[in-house]
């Protein structure tokens, strides 16, 4: 508690100021770290994210053979990979897309642009993805 806050509470205790006046004064002397509205607080920059982390955690009841996977991928590698994917000839990327579709992944390699990737990374900087499946949990976040 700061000195100003203490003084205000002492004045309230001595009856020199009313509760409303104390409340108003306290809101004026609040330190920046205790701002009322957290959404208006400027976001402390953690620096731009450098890695994408994917953690696959099996459920505790999965039994033997369940794998725990922890992968850390540098975002620079993903960006470079997107660049490399754009150099793949069209007839080859068609075959790759078809193979992905057979696996249930509806993705077109040619549509992945670096700008879209930056948007995705920015979005992941604000949130984390948690997926609970039958056999375990998948946690995706950037750091």
């Amino acid at each position: 508690m700061s000195d100003n806050q203490k003084r205000i509470l002492e004045m309230l205790a001595e009856g020199k100021i009313s509760v409303d006046e104390a409340h108003r004064l306290l809101s004026l002397v609040e330190p920046p770290a205790e701002a009322k509205d957290s959404s208006s607080k400027p976001r402390v920059s953690k620096g731009s994210p450098r890695y994408l982390r994917v953690v696959v955690q099996p459920d505790t009841g999965s039994g033997r053979g369940a794998e725990r996977v922890n992968v850390r991928v540098p975002l620079a590698l993903i960006r470079a990979g997107v660049k490399l994917a754009s150099l793949i000839p069209a007839h080859v990327s068609d075959r790759v897309n078809e193979a992905l579709r057979e696996k249930g992944i509806n993705l077109d390699l040619r549509n992945i642009k670096e700008a879209d990737l930056e948007q995705l990374v920015d979005a992941l900087g604000e949130l984390e993805v948690d997926v609970q499946g039958d056999r375990g949990k998948v946690h995706v976040y950037v750091e």
Partner: protein, 91 residues
């Protein structure tokens, strides 16, 4: 500018044995540079020849491949199952 990773750390652990390997990648990169310099004229010729078939751009992907290799630093894969564990990391 990022540089390619200088070390590959490999750890394999199971019930019977534990293996720890540190592979010095920094010894490979000079060889790769020399090889790239030797192959560059041939790659240029092949790129011109195969440009109409769509492979030309891929054959000139040397800088992009270098960028991919440089970005490997920090890649880490850790897989654990029962009493077995494999960790691969590029430093």
């Amino acid at each position: 500018m990022n540089f390619p990773p200088y070390l590959l750390r490999l750890r394999i652990r199971n019930r019977r044995r534990r293996i720890r390997l540190w592979l010095p990648l920094f010894l490979l990169w000079p060889l790769a540079v020399v090889l790239a310099l030797i192959l560059t004229p041939f790659m240029l010729i092949l790129a011109i020849v195969f440009l109409c078939r769509g492979w030309g751009r891929l054959l000139l992907a040397g800088p992009v491949i270098f960028r991919c290799l440089s970005a490997l630093s920090g890649l880490e894969v850790d897989v654990k199952r029962d009493h077995e564990r494999i960790i691969v990391s590029f430093c």
